[in-house]
C-alpha cells in the first residue's frame, strides 16, 4: 500500500496529545494501522509530550501518597484496564482482514460482514457507533459514480479502505486520508474498477447541493 495523502501534522498532534474525541481518533488510529510513517510521527510527538512532562516543575505529593499507592499494588500481572468491551476478531488463519483495528472492532466484522444500509443510487452506508455525537460511517460508492456535490458546515475526515476516489484536490487510494472543511466544495467520484469503501467522519450534517439529494437527505439520516 503506497500512501500519498496523510493526516496533517496538527491533526496527528491532536491525536498524540489526547485532544481528539472518539470519532476523530478512530479515523486517525485506523490510518495509523495502515501507515508506519505516521506511527513514527506520532511516536515522536509522544516523545515530545514525555520531554515536556519531564521538564515540568515538580509539585510535591503528600507523605501518604506513596503508601496509598503501595496499598493498592497487587503482584498479579495486570488488573483489568478500563477499556471498551468491543469484539475484536483476530483471525489465526487465512488472509489478513481488509479492515484494520480499531475500525474492525467497532464494526464487529471484516468487510465481508458489514451490515450495509442502502443509500440509493447504488451507494451504501454503515453507521459506526461512537459516543461523542460525531457521525462516523462506512460508505460504499459504486465504481465510477459521483458522490453528490456537497459543502460542509464543519470538518470531514475521509479514509479510503478499498478502491479509490478523486476530486478537485487529488486522487485518494487505499490508506489515503483526506481532511476537508467548510471551504472545500468538492465532488468526489469513485474511481472505475471496484467500489470505493471509505470511513467518513463528519461533525455536521452534509449539505448536498443538488435539490433531489436535499429532498431525500432527511430520510437518509445524513
Amino acid at each position: 500500500m503506497t500512501i500519498a495523502h496523510h493526516p496533517s501534522e496538527e491533526l496527528l498532534l491532536d491525536y498524540a496529545s489526547g485532544a481528539l474525541t472518539e470519532s476523530w481518533s478512530l479515523a486517525v488510529a485506523t490510518h495509523l494501522a495502515l501507515c508506519p510513517e505516521c506511527r513514527h510521527e506520532v511516536a515522536r510527538m509522544e516523545a515530545v509530550g514525555g520531554g515536556l512532562l519531564d521538564a515540568l516543575t515538580p509539585t510535591a505529593c503528600s507523605d501518604a501518597a506513596f503508601d496509598a499507592v503501595l496499598a493498592r499494588l497487587t503482584d498479579g500481572a495486570d488488573a483489568a484496564p478500563i477499556t471498551v468491551p468491543r469484539e475484536t476478531l483476530h483471525e489465526t488463519a487465512g488472509p489478513a482482514p481488509v479492515l484494520p483495528d480499531p475500525l474492525r472492532g467497532y464494526i464487529g466484522a471484516d468487510l465481508d460482514g458489514v451490515p450495509w444500509q442502502r443509500l440509493g443510487l447504488g451507494a451504501y452506508q454503515c453507521l459506526v457507533r461512537t459516543e461523542d455525537g460525531v457521525t462516523a460511517r462506512l460508505l460504499r460508492i459504486p465504481a465510477g459514480r459521483p458522490v453528490p456535490e456537497h459543502t460542509h458546515r464543519g470538518q470531514e475526515l475521509t479514509l479510503v479502505l478499498r478502491g479509490a476516489f478523486s476530486d478537485q484536490t487529488g486522487h485518494y487510494g487505499a490508506g489515503d486520508f483526506q481532511e476537508a472543511d467548510e471551504h472545500i466544495k468538492h465532488q468526489p467520484h469513485a474511481a472505475p474498477g471496484e467500489d470505493c469503501i471509505c470511513l467518513a467522519i463528519t461533525d455536521a450534517p452534509l449539505r448536498f447541493r443538488s435539490l433531489a439529494a436535499r429532498l431525500v437527505q432527511p430520510l437518509l439520516g445524513i
Partner: protein
C-alpha cells in the same frame, strides 16, 4: 529510568518502583494540575497513574519509547478514561491487518539515551510562541482550533507554529527529511 520500569516488570521490584514514584509522581501531579484540578484531586489521579505504571510495566518496550514518553501516554489515556469518560481508539500492534514497519523495530534505531538528551535540548531551544502552542496541546489537551481561539490568532498561524516546532525537533534529532 527505563531500567527501573524493566525492573518493576521483571522482578516486581518495589525499590525501583519507589525511585520511579519519587521522580514521576510530582511531575504527574504538576501535569494534571495544569488541567485545572486541585491538589487533592490531582494527587488521586497521580496515584491512579502510578498504579497503572506498576500494572502495565510488562508492556513497556525500551526499544520503542523512553520512560517519560511511556508514562506520558499512561497519563494521557488516564485523563481521557477517567476525567473525560471518553474513549481513544488505538491501533492494535497484534492485528494481522496492520501494515508492519519497514524494518524490524521500526524507526527505533536512535540510541534512546542520546535521543532523550537531544530531545530535551530541542525542546529547550524552541521559540516561546511555538512552546506555548505545545504546552496548550499537551498540558491542556486543546485541539489546534481551540488553541487558535484561546490565543486569539488565526488557525493558519497555529498550524504553522506546530509545523515549525516539529520541523525543529526533527532536525535536532538528525531526522530532517
Amino acid at each position: 529510568m527505563d531500567d527501573l520500569i524493566v525492573a518493576v516488570a521483571q522482578h516486581r521490584d518495589r525499590a525501583a518502583f519507589r525511585e520511579l514514584f519519587d521522580h514521576f509522581a510530582p511531575r504527574l501531579k504538576a501535569f494534571v494540575m495544569r488541567q485545572g484540578l486541585d491538589s487533592q484531586m490531582a494527587e488521586e489521579v497521580t496515584q491512579e497513574a502510578m498504579v497503572r505504571v506498576w500494572q502495565k510495566a510488562q508492556q513497556f518496550d525500551p526499544s520503542k519509547a523512553r520512560a517519560s514518553t511511556w508514562i506520558f501516554t499512561i497519563a494521557r489515556n488516564l485523563r481521557i478514561d477517567f476525567l473525560r469518560k471518553s474513549y481513544r481508539p488505538e491501533p492494535d500492534p497484534d492485528d494481522p491487518a496492520m501494515v508492519p514497519d519497514a524494518e524490524p523495530g521500526g524507526f527505533a534505531h536512535v540510541a534512546q539515551a542520546q535521543e532523550a538528551e537531544r530531545l530535551r535540548a530541542a525542546i529547550a531551544v524552541l521559540p516561546d510562541d511555538q512552546r506555548v502552542v505545545l504546552h496548550l496541546a499537551f498540558f491542556e489537551e486543546k485541539t489546534h482550533p481551540e488553541i487558535a481561539e484561546q490565543l486569539g490568532i488565526p488557525l493558519g498561524t497555529v498550524k504553522s507554529r506546530i509545523r515549525l516546532a516539529f520541523k525543529r525537533v526533527r532536525s535536532e534529532l538528525g531526522e530532517d527529511q
